[in-house]
Subunit: 193 residues, 2 copies
DNA sequence: CCATTAACGCAAAATTTTAGCATTAACGGA
DNA sequence: TCCGTTAATGCTAAAATTTTGCGTTAATGG
């Protein structure tokens, strides 16, 4: 049961993948998570169930695959003129997205995936975003803390709250995380690894 | 399909739960996660599959239930004489536990649960632990940062790395998170909510 | 001790998942 | 462009699972 990933991407294979993803997205809007089934998705996508089982293994991996796609940032973060503003603007939008019902479901689906490479993609999305904001701050002449500080100080607390204690994933707290992270004059030692 | 939780805990019900949990724990040591099945567990536990389906709903919720139990801290954290030492001692052990193969699986199983009340229990474990260390520091005459700072500064980054980027969940980084969190002279504003 | 009812066992039915083989179509070289 | 190779899919039957209905057991409260 070795699940292949994006081999022979041309033509049919890509069409099937898109049809299946689309079917999942559509069904997700009209059905609860625990009443989605593979045969159902297959029928709507116009493929046979065995195709889905062979490519994705099971329902969890399929919905995780769709959801991680959904979590990819589609546009560049807004430029507000300061790092603090950029962090707040991005974080606000991210919080809003991830506390919404579909956002929570997507987060859940990704976390339920047995392949941790999928979760790592979410991590990379955030890190790449922090890198962008960091570079932008540098080019403005600001003196931003190192990227890992941004991750540890802003992204990690926010993610932790979103996953474990949603009620405290608020903009108020976001503002506080940003303030604390940027206030600290000492840039500290950069993270290893 | 409303899953009941610990109603009528006396006698038989408790025996069945323990037998099923035990069966899961045993099977987990000799089988990979994706080759566990409900009928298999039921047989070893000496119950019928329908009992498991009725009580836990599905395999994911069952293993999540078992794993969250496993993650409950069983003993009080070591007292090393300083808050920094206590945090390091606890964090070291936690990191070791959670980067191990069974620890990673347990973490995965809990995160895969659709009931976020299960994840919240993990959060409460950590917060309760931070409270313990905080009180202990106070009684020593230390001036510890507020509990939410400990959570945001130490627990959150560690958890974030464990979930999204295991390679950076190291003792070196733990030491750094602790240093940064305790160094900051300004206790800041306490978290709301 | 009894009435009530939650929890369980059992077995049939429904559904999902797997597996074997045939077919289609993407890919690469001549 | 054509052709051989083979990854990917379709189809179908078999296997395994999950669900459901109903009878039974045993925990709970009086």
């Amino acid at each position: 049961m070795a699940i292949k990933e994006a081999v022979r991407p041309g033509g049919r294979s890509a069409r099937v993948q898109e049809a299946v993803h689309q079917a999942v997205r559509e069904l997700q809007t009209i059905k609860a998570r625990d009443e989605l089934t593979v045969p159902q998705i297959a029928e709507r996508a116009g493929v046979t169930p065995s195709t889905i089982y062979r490519r994705w293994g099971n329902l969890s991996e399929l919905v995780a695959d769709v959801s991680v796609e959904r979590m990819r940032p589609d546009e560049d973060p807004a430029d507000t003129g300061t790092l603090a503003g950029d962090l707040l603007a991005w974080g606000q939008q991210y919080l809003e997205e991830m506390t919404s019902v579909p956002g929570q479901r997507a987060l859940n689906d990704v976390m339920a995936s047995a392949h941790d490479e999928r979760r790592e993609r979410c991590c990379r999305y955030s890190e790449s975003l922090m890198t962008t904001l960091h570079d932008r701050a540098l080019s403005r002449g600001e003196t931003p803390p190192p990227i890992c500080k941004l991750v540890d100080g802003v992204v990690a607390p926010m993610t932790y709250r979103l996953l474990y204690d949603r009620d405290s994933a608020t903009v108020d707290n976001l503002q506080r995380w940003i303030d604390c992270t940027l206030k600290d004059g000492d840039p500290g030692v950069a993270c290893r690894q």
